[in-house]
């Protein structure tokens, strides 16, 4: 079933990905085709089959709570688009 234009715009908003009008047209057709392809999943009988989130039998992995040398502050901030002293600077969220 093809996605509507509104559904594509809604998903883009959820993902915080900007889309142009042309993007919406193209993504609508491509995503619809890909979602149609996912229908083959229905053919697999998964009654009573538990989901697997990853293939290793590991749970609740912990490590000793030890103090380690953190990264150098200057090195971490060197890639920041905006900074203020020792902080990352962001635009205000509430107008």
């Amino acid at each position: 079933m093809p996605l509507t234009r509104e559904e594509v715009e809604h998903v883009a908003r959820l993902a915080h990905v900007g889309v142009t009008d042309e993007d919406v047209v193209r993504f609508r057709s491509q995503l619809s085709q890909i979602l149609d392809y996912f229908e083959v999943l229905r053919a697999v009988d998964t009654e009573g089959v538990p989901p697997t989130s990853q293939s290793l039998p590991l749970e609740n992995v912990t490590r000793p709570d030890e103090t380690l040398q953190p990264l150098d502050q200057e090195a971490v901030l060197a890639n920041a688009p905006l900074r203020s002293g020792g902080y990352f600077r962001v635009r205000k969220i509430l107008e």
Binding site: F27, A43, P51, S55, V61, A78, L82
Partner: protein, 489 residues
């Protein structure tokens, strides 16, 4: 090519032998590789960043270490690392405008381990943006050309790493494989590519795509080299919670045990209709050759859920990607759009301009599959199918030691051929994704040519049984010489 440049055609283990005997120096070996980089790179474009100055320093240091004795086997070996692996102080782009100027403040565990092993870093390999693609055409910077036919793709997403090794612009390389991104380009470039068992190699410092699927592994000309690189990069790492707390064997120790008595299975669902005649012939002939090596072959193994594996993969990987790539918000690092009217507008425009089309498409697929009302129908359903796929592999491995199959249904396709058709591109991965979904080790080795283009044979083994997988490939390479062919550039 003169004799100096021929050094770049050596395998790593051959070069290591000559380095140890001091018949060649690491500096000579590097200069031979750099000569090829200068000659071929304008046409192949395997690298995103070259680190020649660092490489010369590392080669000089390697010679000192070799002279002192006791140097590890990869000491002095010119290496390419896919640009998805963080390298401290060296730009790491992940093939994306988003990270065009990103300089990591730390090394990935594998980068540190290779440094400790004494490798010489030639540069960072080109790739599909955020490792999403099967052709390296999704690189934000430039495509890479297949050294066997420059009008064709090298495969992807680790296409730069594969092309660098095939062209002699590095002796070995690292890639990452989420759905085939090491094995598929290895097949298309006529070299060996290994995806280790999920959890075998630390993902700390690997820029995340699909965290339940991603695994780092080597490219090389032969299986022995792959074993040497695995020896250097495998092992438990407390900084990766999905790193398996298991010991690392010496992957070279079982190589020469041969294929006598080996139980080989051929899953019939992998002999897909979309295979070209050349791939079908080469792969079936290669499998048949194992009878002469003393193995038994069961051609009737069945993995019925295989047909749903690609769909499960394209639910699971984009879902995980949509979560992993949420971090690119233009605040801490990376491209940042700053001219918008609000914080939210800046974030949307940062992600619209910073990500390429395929990355945005996969974020959208994943966001949709995880959204309210669809989570159970897509994401949880795909995770249940994952369980079915793993159980089918487990049942097959009760009867077989390894499974053999094609790596890809076709040899390298033309640049531009599939770039506007996402579904056609995804179908390249039909034989490789089940291995990631089940977390198994898989390898592609060269097994023939079709119209001058290389073909790959895929070897799949039980979890943490890389030793049997490598032994199988090694036995094949003792009996054949496909892996010794080099492209005429």
């Amino acid at each position: 090519m003169n004799s100096a440049s021929a050094l770049a055609e050596l395998t790593a283990h051959e070069a290591a032998g000559l380095l140890r005997k001091r018949e060649i120096s690491a500096v000579d070996l590097l200069e031979s590789v750099l000569e090829r980089v200068a000659a071929f790179e304008p046409r192949v474009q395997a690298y995103l960043t070259l680190t020649e100055q660092l490489a010369r320093e590392q080669a000089a240091a390697a010679d000192k270490r070799l002279a002192a004795g006791g140097a590890p086997p990869l000491c002095g070996i010119p290496t390419c690392i896919k640009d998805v692996v963080c390298t401290q102080g060296i730009r790491t782009t992940c093939g994306s405008r988003m990270l065009e100027k990103f300089v990591p403040p730390y090394d990935a565990t594998v980068a540190r381990m290779l440094n400790d092993a004494g490798i010489v870093l030639v540069g960072k390999g080109n790739m599909d943006e955020f490792a999403m693609g099967s052709s390296t055409e999704n690189s934000a910077f430039h495509p890479t050309h297949n050294p066997w036919d420059l009008t064709r793709v090298p495969g992807g997403s680790s296409g730069g790493s594969a092309a660098a090794v095939a062209a002699g612009e590095a002796l070995v390389a690292l890639g990452s494989d989420t759905g085939g991104s090491i094995r598929q380009p290895a097949a298309l470039c006529g070299i060996v590519g290994v995806k280790p068992t999920y959890g075998r190699v630390s993902r700390f410092g690997l820029i995340a795509f699909g965290s339940s699927l991603d695994q780092i592994g080597p490219f090389s000309h032969d299986v022995e080299d792959a074993a040497l690189v695995l020896n250097a990069i495998c092992g438990h790492d407390a900084r990766d919670a999905t790193s398996a707390p298991v010991g690392t064997p010496d992957f070279t120790s079982d190589l020469r045990h041969g294929a006598e008595g080996l139980r080989i299975g051929v899953p019939r669902e992998y002999l897909v209709d979309s295979m070209t005649p050349g791939v079908r012939d080469a792969v079936t002939t290669a499998i048949g050759a194992f009878e002469g090596l003393g193995a038994t072959i069961d051609w009737e193994i069945s993995l019925p859920a295989t047909g749903a594996a690609l769909a499960a993969y394209y639910v699971i990987a984009p879902s995980e990607a949509s979560a992993n790539l949420a971090r690119y918000d233009g605040v801490k690092y990376g491209y940042s759009y700053l001219e918008g009217r609000s914080m939210w507008e800046n974030m949307e425009l940062t992600r619209e301009h910073g990500f390429g089309e395929e990355v945005r498409r996969r974020i959208m697929i994943g966001t949709y599959a995880l959204s309210a009302g669809y989570y159970d129908a897509y994401y949880i359903k795909a995770q249940r199918v994952r369980t079915v796929i793993r159980r089918e592999f487990d049942a097959a491995f009760a009867r077989c030691d390894v499974l053999l199959a094609p790596t890809t249904p076709t040899p390298a396709f033309r640049i531009g051929e599939k770039v506007n058709d996402p579904m056609a591109m995804y179908l390249n991965d039909v034989c490789t994704v089940p291995v990631n979904i089940a977390g198994l080790p898989g390898m592609s080795i060269p097994c023939g040519f079709e119209a001058g283009l290389p073909i790959g044979l895929q070897v799949i083994a039980k979890p943490f049984d890389e030793a049997t997988m490598l032994k199988t490939g090694y036995a094949y390479q003792q009996a054949t010489d496909w892996h010794k062919r080099r492209p005429a550039l």
